[in-house]
Amino acid sequence: MNAFVPDGVALILAIPAATAAILALTPGYRLSARLNVLSAFLTLMAALSLFVRKPETGPYILVDDLNIVFIVLNTFVAFTTSVFSASYIAHELEIGRLTPVQLRFYHAMYQLLLFGMNLALVANNIGLMWVAIEMATLTTVLMVGVYRTPEAIEAAWKYFILGSVGIALALFGTILVYMAARPVVGEGLDGMVWTVLIAHVAAFDPAQLNLAFVFLMLGYGTKVGLAPLHAWLPDAHAEGPTPISAVLSGLLLNVALYAVLRFKLLLDGNSGAIAPGPLMAILGLVSLVFAAFMLYRRRDIKRMFAYSSIEHMGIIAFAFGIGGPLANFAGLLHMIMHSLTKSAIFFTVGHISQVKGTQKIADIRGLTVTHPMLGWGLVIGVFAIAGLPPFGMFMSEFLVVSSTFARAPWLAIPLVGGLLVAFGALLLRLHGMAFGEPSGDVAPVKASSLPIAAHFGLVLMAGIWLPPPLVAWFQHVASLLR
């Protein structure tokens, strides 16, 4: 119809792709950083435009109530992260950890990553979704290794090997889904279009679907970072540039989780297939408890928060796994809150490690004395991530724990235990870092605390007041997820 206004989906895909190409050719990091921010902002705008005008569903593109939440969240965090990255990268260049060439590479890759993630989110074709996630993974692999220190390369290598095995498994699962669909929907493109699949899934062969889900769960679960498939995650977070850690925790894990959810819906639709819920719930609990104990022995601040990401992915997977309107609502809310909070924490941690010149927890003390902004920011972040009021995660954890205990008390015991153990670990480290006699450099930090403030502001607001339309939205999606 109105061909003048370009389609929002086209924009959120085209802008990052184009910018990536441009950035690859732009020398001078100031300009490229600005371009980065600008394009991220434009993408965000385009994503918001999806609210007003949804594109009609095609064989490749789908924008429905489920993924629009992910898209907007994705573009928003990508934008704030690009703002943070601008100030972060400048400092890295000063101290010479990165060369201009690497920076050019870095910025191009950043946009490519956004492109990949957006593509994965809007894809209506499970094959396309697989390709996109694949691409996103490869770009992050390259960015994790960008410092080229032995640790960084090891982390990237580990990430790459485990990631590509996961990818292979996911592909096999995708093929199996197609095989299951073929007898029903016939050969050709339709066999991979999600909307078609979900329409006919009831008639699929359950055994094949089960097999497919096992591979998909393991394949995409590796990306989600669920234990025991998590091994790449802590090192990739710890050794890469902090903006990438923020994007990994805040976005990529969500995208992978989104893929898992799509296929969970598929299996839920088939009465003969095994229920995917228990598998997700069990993997989630395992990740939660495991990560909670792993938190205690961490020496590196970024690695610690990476483990906390595993923990929270476990909680989210658990929530979606047990299902039901309350738990699904909580899962969605928790996912969004975790993205915002965790990325904000990584912003803070990035500044902290820059002013203190170290990532070792033991060398960071008395932050609230020397850098009140960063110190209290860290305190707020840890409280928000630990699910304390008045922050949004309190609401989601409240719903998850209470509804679980009312429905399946024996599941609530490990859940609560894991939450408490993790809480103890985080607070133990927080006391050491934020309070006590200060240590290390007391030079004032020169960085914009705007992204941090924005994220925490949103998280705080969500904890106190959720806008009714948003709530209605969530409840609708929760009912979709069953």
Partner: protein
């Protein structure tokens, strides 16, 4: 005709599994690469046959990719790397061969059982193919797990991809998207691996993954 096509497809797929076992059996890098090339050839044959049977011309592309890249380019390149790194004499199997082979058998059996639970009305060719493909994938994984150094892990990974391609081609009428993505992924994978080997080369004198693992980022 139907019977013949079925038997041949069956034969080739089975041959692929057999070659995977041969891969598993090798303990010299050079011979490993040769066997891998052989596997690529077998794969190409089976893909071509599928193309013929299904009357799907685009599958010939896949076959060509298999022949060119997997059977020639990659083995040669890896030859170079091995030669330059001078690790061709390495015996690098974890544990001894016997248990590995037995485990391989078990895996094949497992994948058969799992696939044969699929209702029989899905056409038998696809079922058998998938069963073999699954076995190849599992064997490839087993190889990655039981090999110590990077090159052989890469080989294991690629034999795993072969299994995927077998499955994809066996899936009748699967859109082109998938083949492209597979080829693309293999390509990218290879490039990235190459990049990493060189980077690693800058830092260490060996691509033994254990040398990497020795870091483990200190006590973190």
């Amino acid at each position: 005709m139907k019977g013949l096509s079925f038997d041949l497809a069956h034969l080739l797929a089975g041959g692929l599994v057999l070659v995977s076992f041969m891969l598993l059996y090798q303990n010299r890098l050079y011979s490993l690469l040769n066997v891998f090339a052989l596997q690529a050839v077998v794969l190409a044959l089976s893909v071509a046959w599928q193309a013929y049977v299904q009357g799907a011309p685009h599958l010939y592309v896949t076959a060509a990719i298999a022949i060119v890249f997997k059977a020639m380019v990659i083995p040669i390149a890896l030859h170079r790397i091995i030669a330059r790194l001078g690790i061709h004499r390495e015996v690098e199997i974890v544990g001894s061969l016997g248990p590995t082979m037995i485990a391989g058998m078990g895996l094949v059996a497992l994948s058969m059982v799992v696939m044969l639970r699929v209702t029989a009305d899905a056409d038998p060719l696809a079922r058998e193919d998938l069963a073999f493909a699954l076995s190849v994938v599992m064997l490839g994984l087993l190889m990655m797990v039981t090999r110590r150094n990077a090159v052989s892990q890469v080989v294991g990974f690629m034999s795993l991809e072969n299994g995927l391609i077998l499955a994809a081609t066996g899936a009748k009428g699967m859109p082109l998207v998938v083949e492209i993505s597979v080829a693309f992924s293999v390509l990218v994978a290879f490039i990235v691996i190459g990049v990493f080997l060189f980077r690693i080369r800058e830092r260490f004198d060996t691509v033994d993954v254990q040398a990497l693992d020795q870091f483990q980022g200190g006590r973190r």
